[in-house]
Subunit: 364 residues, 2 copies
């Protein structure tokens, strides 16, 4: 009954517009549908990842990154043969990697119990021309009712996102498509730098693989276990934490922040598992001796302190990744960031160890 009401409400709220496509479409604001994937669900701008009025201590860099819509997913159902998207950007990213992930949208549809890729699009850099421009995600589908999830851009900032469906078809709020709420806080690796599409992040893969909701709080270059993050995270309504905490910073910042970070979060989240992942092999180390040395020192420090931490603190774990690289060492884009293949390898390598730990806490 609630669903029917929502559906009727949406039809009432929907705005009909002529898009660039050949047919008349009905557009619905994404925030009127179901949004998932956020560590902090209630934010003044629904397409940002932090309520800056609730938590403080943020630097300009933190704010810039947390305003980006990385990891935000809209869940909806439709029987429309055609699905479009129509955004308004506050900022469009100039990434050297893929436009599909930095400033694009990524659609999956459930088929035989699997989230099967259905469509993607990318926007150009010209905000004035691109704002309000509809782009096609998929067309020529059958008219069965489908469960859909769409990922928002990883490195752009949004003021509005609308989904367009063919006139006369139905669009309604989707269910929460994933069980539990697990915070995945990390560096550019979790943010999704060098991904091909917005859904191809480690949290994206883990979520679709396990059916559990890994909410992304990836902040490129900015995950050094700083106090402002610990202070916000201890208030997060989540069942578990997974951290990629040793990819940014250096040996000194790891040493300075790690134990404080754990203690601050545990002060308000006793009994909630904190799972730290090792960082990965950066292909820039292959020949660059200076990078190799700095990476080695940082990893040695993380390994040393985590060995102590898992003994010192209850509910703290250290999980080893596969290094997110292939046999050929050919999964990097820029020497630091893996591309999709590497991120998939990362997610697949931690999937079992993480789900095994979560299961001990009844999270399965």
């Amino acid at each position: 009954m609630r669903k029917l009401l929502t559906s009727i409400l949406l039809v009432f709220m929907a705005v009909s517009l002529w898009a660039e496509g050949p047919e008349k479409m009905t557009y619905v604001e994404v925030s009127d549908l179901r949004i998932v994937g956020k560590v902090f669900p209630d934010t003044p701008n629904p397409y940002e990842r932090m309520d800056f009025t609730k938590f403080d201590g943020w630097t300009a860099k933190d704010i810039n990154l947390l305003e980006m819509s990385a990891g935000i997913i809209v869940s909806f159902k439709t029987n429309s043969p055609t699905i479009w998207v129509m955004p308004e950007f506050k900022e469009i990213s100039q990434s050297m990697a893929s436009g599909f992930s930095a400033r694009g949208f990524d659609l999956y549809i459930k088929k035989n119990d699997m989230w099967l890729w259905a469509g993607s699009c990318s926007y150009r850099l010209d905000k004035e021309k691109e704002n309000g421009r509809a782009r096609l995600l998929v067309e020529n589908m059958d008219n069965s009712m489908k469960e859909c999830i769409m990922y928002l851009p990883l490195y752009s900032k949004m003021t509005s996102v609308k989904i367009g469906v063919s006139d006369g078809s139905t669009i309604e709020t989707g269910d929460i498509p994933f069980r539990h709420r697990i915070c995945l806080h990390g560096s550019s690796f979790m943010h999704g730098s060098s991904t091909g599409r917005a859904g191809q992040t480690v949290p994206g893969y883990l979520t679709r693989m396990t059916g559990m909701q890994f909410c992304s709080l990836g902040v490129s270059g900015d995950c050094r276990m700083q106090p402002q993050f610990a202070n916000a995270l201890k208030k997060a309504d989540v069942d578990a934490f997974v951290f990629d905490a040793f990819s940014n910073g250096n040996a000194a910042s790891v040493e300075k922040n790690l134990f404080n970070f754990i203690e601050t979060i545990q002060s308000e989240k006793p009994g909630v598992p904190l799972i730290f992942m090792t960082t990965i092999w950066r292909e820039r180390r292959n020949f660059n001796q200076k990078v190799d040395k700095a990476e080695r020192e940082k990893i040695e420090m993380a390994d040393k302190l985590m060995k102590q931490a898992v003994k010192k603190y209850k509910d703290v774990y250290y999980v080893t990744t596969s290094n997110a690289t292939s046999e050929l060492h050919d999964t990097t884009l820029d020497g630091t960031h893996p591309a999709d293949w590497g991120y998939y390898l990362w997610a697949e390598s931690v999937r079992k160890p993480i789900t095994k730990i979560l299961a001990k806490y009844g999270i399965k």
Copy 2:
């Protein structure tokens, strides 16, 4: 002795310039080193892939694509701790995929008999600002002599490309780093659309995997076995041909062109193997019924005619790919083109069947 002379000549020709980096560098034009990877090695502009004065019948689309430096590799040796690149673009591509592949450079260095990735860079779209701008590929290396290969941009057009090494170090012409010459003619799939880096194409992977030189003649959207391509290819100085010939066009163009294409090439290349690959699963088919139908019809036509062709013609083969997709069907970027992971899966799936056929002809 010849190598020593070349080396002395290069030092004489090298131009010393202040690059954007912290040190003084010596720059050498890439065409004065060893260029490989070209089906037609001698072209008026060394960074284009066709001699338009020798072969005719080209359309504006053909010319536009063949002027791009896709698949061109420079082979050199250096003991420099730092390697830079400094290009002059005739045209910089506006790809929505990765800048590292469309308008970037990609460096591998031999280590333990493997081509290990060493560095990459991407250029912005502003030709005036970017022309003559040096970008770093790798730094802080030891000073042993190294065998290097660098891939040129896949979708841009070059008038000049220079390699920069630290002043006082040596750079010299590399050997031909790969055995034999195999022409790999194909669509955007072989051109490398949606790759992350310029070395992550199917010909790139096959070459580094096998040690045999798969020269790329990928032409995005333009590989329909047209007569002008057959007329040029029959003159190519190569040991074998591999074709991705059923990815562009439709059932009608396959039917119209296939047998003519084979007969034209065989008229001047009797006894040279012609290996056709199946096209791959396009993820756009997952939900789009129209694309699904068109793809099915084209593939059925290719399968039917190739079944006849392998009986009708000597030295003609048909090889099945893995569809360039993962279990998750999540290796696409835009629904048509795989990204690196998919291209790797494609290359790996045809590696054994192709090398088995080539071995019958003494190509191993």
